[in-house]
């Protein structure tokens, strides 16, 4: 478990999720510390991405899904009846595996979220666009072509545009679902650097298949297997002396 001095931002309690008959998450209890990077690892189909998606209710739309137990964000159950999902997703943003910029200009990609939240002032939008692009470490590369299509950028740049777009609405938590798996090592390292800088202001929760990435940048690691949370602890301990034999077998490549 994580250091007692850490403050929790998201906590799940006895979280179970079913896709029809498939029991995809089993009694997940976890406390995600604020302003830290938490990596979720495990073999394909272990439930780590499903778990990530429950944190901003991205599974709600999946047909036949059934969720019980609780996910508390700052102490409030995000599956409570009165929760406004749009406002929840504003606070808990997500970046996907494949960069998915909107087919519009770089500027409009970033301004899209703030506009839907009612910001109309050009000056205010300019400010948000610049800040978000700077935070996503891509401002210098695109500042002279803000009105060009985001689709003309490289994969690594597009992914940073997506991160900037997520940051534009000032989230508290950033969920990253294998956000570097399709990128070359240089783009990957830029995004890793970025995640480490962002954690001073945000909480980052990332799903990764790359053990070395989890080791390089995460503070805490959670290992999922067959829908269960097998082990959760500080990353260095998990990778030097894991407490559970199944964790050891997975991270040393004996299965998965």
């Amino acid at each position: 478990m994580c250091d007692n001095s850490e403050k929790t931002i998201i906590q799940s309690k006895k979280l179970n999720l079913y896709y029809g008959e498939n029991h995809a998450l089993k009694d997940i209890d976890i406390e995600i510390p604020v302003n830290r990077i938490t990596a979720l690892i495990g073999p394909s189909g272990c439930g780590k991405s499903t778990f990530l998606k429950t944190l901003n209710r991205m599974n709600d739309l999946v047909p036949g899904v059934k969720i019980d137990g609780q996910v508390l964000y700052r102490g409030e159950d995000i599956y409570g009846r009165e929760v406004d999902v749009t406002s929840l997703r504003r606070q808990i943003g997500m970046v996907f595996q494949k960069a998915n910029p909107f087919p519009m200009s770089i500027y409009d990609n970033i301004a899209y979220g703030p506009r839907t939240h009612g910001i109309r002032s050009r000056a205010r939008l300019d400010e948000i666009v610049e800040r978000s692009l700077r935070d996503a470490a891509i401002w210098e590369e695109v500042k002279d072509r803000l009105n060009k299509s985001a689709l003309g950028l490289s994969g690594g740049q597009q992914q940073r545009i997506c991160i900037a777009r997520a940051l534009a609405v000032e989230p508290q938590v950033l969920l990253m679902d294998e956000s570097t798996s399709a990128l070359d090592p240089i783009s990957t390292s830029k995004i890793e650097e970025l995640a480490m800088e962002l954690k001073n202001r945000y909480t980052v929760i990332m799903v990764t298949h790359n053990m070395q990435q989890a080791l390089r940048i995460s503070d805490y690691t959670a290992f999922f297997l067959l829908g269960e949370l097998v082990e959760f602890g500080d990353t260095q301990t998990m990778f030097s002396k894991p407490g559970d034999k199944r964790t050891e077998a997975y991270i040393t490549g004996r299965f998965g």
């Binding site: 053990m211 070395q212 080791l215 990778f239 030097s240 002396k241 894991p242 964790t247 050891e248 991270i251 040393t252 490549g253 004996r254 299965f255």
Partner: protein, 219 residues
């Protein structure tokens, strides 16, 4: 899935065992050279020490290659990093056997050396070295624990050696030079025992992730 990696780890194990055998040979030969006061036997120790130096390089290469290419974690990482630490101790054991041999080869044609205690000491440290390397190869904590416990016995032998040498000096003041040589040899055997203890401590780290000096594990 990780056949190649496992093959490399087995190769590491067998190289470590070979290095262990070279250590035993070096100590045994130095001890025999001493008890027989034989310069010929003593002259055979330095080549073994050189072989140990080469083996140290070989094992280092295997370990660095594994670190680079396999990026090991957990038990694999501990096994490889323990090996990297252990080979330094094994190489030092070779040097100390060589130091003993050098003293033997420069000893004058003095009295029949009184080496019963030193031979017993040599037997103890050879056992320690063998067991510590076996413990590594079989990842056997219990055996490593026994090695560490044996070190007290070796230290006690060294105290006895000192006492008997003081008696010799008192009895026969002319034997001062001889006594100093024997003291040095005793000290080298005692150091070899310490190196075997270090090796055993790294075996325990390799198995459990805990090293005697706890700060190593957490920092």
């Amino acid at each position: 899935m990780r056949n190649n990696f496992d093959r490399q780890l087995r190769l590491l194990g067998s190289e470590m065992r070979e290095m262990g055998v070279l250590c035993e040979d070096a100590i045994a030969l130095a001890a025999k050279a001493l008890s027989e006061n034989s310069k010929e036997l003593a002259a055979r120790v330095p080549p073994i020490a050189s072989a140990l130096d080469r083996k140290e390089r070989d094992v280092e290469n295997i370990c660095l290659k594994l670190l680079l290419r396999q990026q090991p974690v957990a038990g694999d990482l501990r096994q490889i990093s323990a090996a990297l630490k252990m080979i330094t101790d094994m190489e030092r054991i070779g040097d100390q056997a060589e130091d003993i041999a050098e003293i033997v080869s420069s000893m004058g044609p003095g009295p029949e050396p009184e080496t019963e205690l030193l031979s017993a000491m040599a037997r103890s440290v050879i056992r320690m070295v063998t067991s510590s390397v076996d413990a590594y190869v079989s990842q056997d904590m219990e055996l490593a624990g026994k090695v560490i416990a044996q070190d007290d016995g070796v230290d006690a032998y060294f105290e006895e050696v000192k006492k008997s040498l003081v008696e010799i000096i008192v009895r026969e003041p002319d034997m001062g030079g001889y006594a100093l040589d024997m003291l040095m040899i005793g000290k080298y055997f005692e150091r070899i025992g310490d190196h075997a203890t270090n090796i055993a401590e790294w075996v325990i780290y390799s198995v459990t992730g805990e090293h005697k000096s706890a700060e190593l594990a957490t920092d």
